[in-house]
């Protein structure tokens, strides 16, 4: 039995959804409403005491690190291989994932959560917010949520994140000039890892991601958005993300795939 406890098909939360849909592996999706802080609920903490999503449970084996879990999924289940065979090509795939996980995705998360989540806390009772903070198990997560709830993320940090995202956009565009996918000739976990945070950039960062500035990245986004597996995963959301995916496809001129 394979169960995925996660939020939307977005960033780390979305990686197992994208990966499993690409492999064609059936699974049960338990929606964790991050907006309602369900990932800090006693029920979820019983599965992952760290209170981070996703949590993937395969026959009782719990996985909470999204990138190693994608490697597990690729190895443990049938379906198209999502990792190159050659060890050096795998190293390149992992290098992209490491850079994305450690540098790029946290920067995008800082920017997006300050724009989208921080306003929700304005005017809330500080005591109530403190009680919510106290439920967050990991100190580093608590520190980030505290900055969001009390709107204290330093502008210099947000600017530095924007710089890093711009650098990543340029770096990936250059890589994709000479190869169709981020790890080389074949679609791989590296593409899923980046797609999970980059799928909406033509809408969220139109001045930076467009036909003139990043033609190669845009072609890669079109190729990715056209994949039935990624489309099917994007359609699993319950909030604005699935609707936004439809809009992005329309804007990129990508057709709706049939049956995934």
């Amino acid at each position: 039995m394979l169960e995925v406890h996660t939020w939307e098909p977005n960033a780390n939360s979305g990686k197992p959804l994208f990966c499993l849909k690409e492999k064609g592996v059936p699974f049960t999706y338990h929606y964790i409403d991050m907006g309602a802080h369900e990932h800090f609920s006693p029920e979820f903490l019983a599965i992952n005491p760290d209170g981070t999503i996703p949590a993937i449970v395969h026959d009782g084996f719990v996985m909470t690190e999204s990138t190693p879990a994608m490697e597990y999924i690729d190895e443990a289940f049938e379906g198209p291989a999502l990792r190159p065979e050659d060890p050096y090509k795998r190293w390149r795939m992992r290098q992209v994932m490491r850079y994305t996980d450690n540098v790029v995705a946290p920067s995008l998360a800082m920017i997006a959560s300050n724009r989208l989540a921080a306003p929700r806390f304005v005017g809330r009772d500080p005591e109530e917010l403190r009680r919510e903070l106290a439920r967050i198990p990991l100190p580093e997560r608590r520190a980030s949520w505290e900055k969001l709830m009390f709107n204290t993320t330093p502008q210099a940090d947000i600017d530095e994140s924007a710089r890093r995202v711009s650098a990543a956009i340029a770096r990936f565009d250059t890589m994709l000039e000479r190869q169709p996918w981020l790890a080389g000739e074949s679609f791989s976990l590296a593409d899923i890892c980046v797609f999970a945070t980059f799928y909406a950039l033509p809408m969220s960062h139109p001045a930076e991601v467009n036909e003139d500035k990043t033609p190669n990245l845009l072609r890669w986004l079109r190729r990715s958005h056209a994949r039935p597996g990624l489309q099917a995963a994007l359609a699993m959301g319950r909030g604005f993300i699935s609707q936004r995916a439809v809009e992005i496809r329309s804007r990129l001129g990508v057709a709706q795939a049939h049956a995934a």
Binding site: Y88, R94, N102, M110
Partner: protein, 239 residues
Amino acid sequence: MISLYCSPGSPHSAAVRIALAEKGIEHEERRLELARFEQHAPSYLELNSQGTVPVLEDGGRRLTESFLILLYLDELYPDPPLGGSGPRERYLVQKWGKYLETSIAPHLAIARWAALSGRVPARARGGLAGLPEERRALWQRAGQGFDAAQLAASGRALLIAGQRLAADLAERDWLVGDGFTLADAAVFPHLAQFDAVGIPTPPVVDRWIARVAGRASVGPIAADMVPLAVMGPEAGRWG
């Protein structure tokens, strides 16, 4: 022929040296003096723009990031296998690799810098100009000294790391499964420095440190691991 650019005092270098020794892979070592900031010399930055050790050269291939190098070596030289047996163990090995990079190594570097009274001498400041912006910013921050809040947060993170190791080692001799794996090779050199920076470790972790250090392949490498005041990976900036 494999060449390893490394420094014996660097835990990340030690991890790769241990894996090479465990697998009996012939190689040559090119040692850098980190105390003399040789890792920031323009000729080295051409090998690795991040200015970090180790770098592994294998024919025309040049690899960075020690844990990813360990996975590469294990896939290229599968005898003896160190990546874990079966997908579950391999997941756990990679989970330790990720935890090491994000929750141990950055904080150990900060605690070590404070414990060893690290400083960036005037002659090393010019070398920082050649680094990518985030590495340069990290070194500049180190040069100014870390504040009490950062030192406290890093100390807490390392204590938690010791507890997490203790939890996994409660019922087994090695971090993953029944034998020595890349998880032990990668994590051990960092944990072995906790004592030198004043971070206490649980007894079950101390016994594991002694167990790893007692391996024939590890002993000489462990004896070389003198802590140096150098920066590690950057600590997470957002959760």
